[in-house]
Symmetry: C2
Subunit: 373 residues, 2 copies
DNA sequence: CTGAAAGCGCTTACAG
DNA sequence: CTGAAAGCGCTTACAG
């Protein structure tokens, strides 16, 4: 099949696709003019600034109308090849992660679309070689920015770190990459981190429980605070919340697992025996919603009424949290605020101040009150 | 910042990116040879087929080693501009849809990656103008294929249908688009549909419940079968399953809502009153997991033991189904099989027979037995 | 102020 | 059998 690129084909290609040159022919101007008008680089009258091209208002209007009527969009590949900044954000999601990241992905997509960007996704499997493949592929595709919903630090070798660095603006080829955002932790210097303020979330939960008259608060952690910074955050928030009321944590009501996730029933049972049976807790703050659900299951089997007997508060506000019976009170991850922070870093509004590397943004959590506490 | 494209820059650009021409210089061959070798179009010896280029085995090995060592990937924009087939699949997801589609998305991504493809995502909002924007954007980006996790039919105007048609292989510009797959229903002729066999899923659920000794089976539908083809499927499966045991549905144990979703507690309560209190049901097949959870909530409040008193089976196998207490028995959507069917249509293995337009593939469901039935 | 021309990085038909 | 050259659709520095 031969392409018809003869002069007879004056108003479009055989396959119906409209190119800039077709628009130019139809409007009776040169491609340069169409490019300038549609790219917003055309002005009219003497007040026109530098860098713009003088095009009559009538001509500009005609070109805009033509482009709209034909549904013209400049070919992304041609623009990319010419060096125009990409409008695709790569998003890497830990494959083993819960659906919380997909809920967050949806929030990011919504906002990215508003700012004219698309998301290209990939799943990571804790395998540095496969992660490197994704990064090389994203680089070859000219990805504008990278968002990583996964902590590759534990298995991040030098090769991988170098590949991540290519998405830093400073090292990027001619502004090809706009930035790199990690969640909670970055394996390299210079990348941004957007994190939810877990400590503040737990602090709010503590304050809420105390205001309800609960006095024997328990904390159930997935791992020892010393072994996991994310657990340390929860622990700090727990201490801070109690301190505000002149209280201190009771060690009998602080339990931690060995890092196994999701918890097996035996672990949840052990936690309940420790903080409720032995510790006398009237409220439990769990590491996350999955843990909270596991605890609720045990509490029900042991005849402990929730929330009358024991309140339970989770973290993440999974979609499942609202469906659970009883519906879970939880520390929400505030996906909308997260998405805004990420996009303000990766797609800053034009004309804003440049963003220094290595920003660490903390997003406030939102306590979502339902039935369990 | 000026690009250094001088001859002195013999082994790469200043920014570290490696181009095909750099590889050619390093290997001491012309770009044509490198392109042929890396593209698998190079052969050696007299047995070389047509369309291939003769390149010595040693030279080919040297080029492969060089490319691997430098982490070379051809620039996707340049390949796209040259007319090479794209390896990006666009995925449109209904924004109002439950997370089931994101779980499915993950399954599709896993398989697409194995076949060298990336996913670019977008969310639809039941707004034809915004959907059209996504389609034009995907077209401009040279998307290889489109997968639509959303039924745009109710508000699909002529403009939108024409835009969808551009992703059909027949109308596509020179093989740019490989295909178009909808879920459950296509608004245009020629597109493929991949669907889960809901009727078969319900039939299996009925057989399972009968084998357990349940005899008073109920069906709770979100909408009248006549108003919603997806509900009609469930109804057909229900009849078929009962017929296999020489039984017929009892109208007192078939309830349907008015299409409102998700159900409000009053609707779930009405359904329980109808099929359990009045109908005497000892098992309920719900339209989906969300409905099943709503029913379980009501049953618990009314002191009906599940599954001893009444079994409940959902559909979708949401992530939340496994977390629920009691864990939900459900008709799973078999995301792995769904993903395989979609990719066999959109990225058929090389050398296979061409796929006729308008395929309708039905994926078998999988009954997931847990605690509720 | 307008228009022709170069060039982004590839692939491939074509000339030597 | 090998290598130079054209061209994909844009944008932009440059010449008229």
């Amino acid at each position: 099949m031969a392409r018809s690129t003869t002069a007879a084909d004056g108003n479009g290609r055989a396959d119906g696709r409209v190119r800039l040159i077709d628009l130019a022919r139809l409007a009776g101007v040169t491609p340069s003019v169409v490019s300038a008008v549609l790219g917003g680089r055309a002005g009219d009258g003497p007040g026109t600034g530098s860098g713009t091209v003088r095009v009559g208002a009538a001509t500009a209007a005609r070109i805009h109308a033509l482009a709209a009527r034909r549904g013209y969009r400049p070919d992304a590949a041609a623009q990319a090849l010419k060096g125009c900044p990409s409008t695709v954000i790569g998003v890497l999601i830990g494959a083993e992660s819960t659906l919380a990241n997909y809920e967050r992905l949806a929030a990011v997509e919504r906002l990215a679309d508003e700012r004219g960007h698309r998301l290209m996704i990939g799943q990571l499997h804790d395998d540095p070689a496969r992660t490197a493949d994704y990064l090389r592929d994203f680089r070859a595709r000219g990805i504008a920015a990278l968002l990583c919903f996964h902590n590759p630090a534990p298995r991040c070798d030098a090769v991988l770190r170098n590949l991540f660095r290519e998405f830093l603006p400073a090292d990027a080829p001619l502004g090809h990459a706009h930035g790199l955002v990690f969640q909670t932790h970055s394996p390299i210097r210079g990348a941004h981190v957007v994190d939810v303020d877990r400590a503040e979330g737990v602090r709010q939960a503590v304050a809420h429980l105390l205001a309800q008259g609960r006095r024997r608060l328990a904390l159930v952690l997935n791992a020892p605070p010393a072994a996991d910074p994310l657990m340390a955050d929860r622990w700090q928030g727990f201490i801070a919340g109690l301190a505000e009321a002149g209280r201190k944590p009771n060690p009998r009501r602080v339990w931690h697992g060995d890092g196994t996730f999701p918890p097996v029933p035996e672990q949840a049972a052990a936690a309940v025996r420790a903080v409720v049976d032995a510790g006398g807790a009237d409220a439990i703050i769990a590491s996350n919603d999955i843990w909270a659900m596991a605890l609720l299951r045990i509490l029900r089997r042991r005849g402990r009424a929730v929330p009358d007997n024991v309140a339970v508060i989770g973290m993440d506000n999974l979609y499942a949290a609202a469906l659970f019976d009883p519906a879970l009170t939880t520390i929400g991850q505030n996906n909308a605020a997260f998405a805004r922070a990420v996009l303000d870093l990766l797609v800053p509004p034009a004309g804003g101040a440049p963003i220094p590397p290595g920003q660490h943004i903390t997003v406030p959590p939102e306590l979502v009150l339902r039935e369990t506490g």
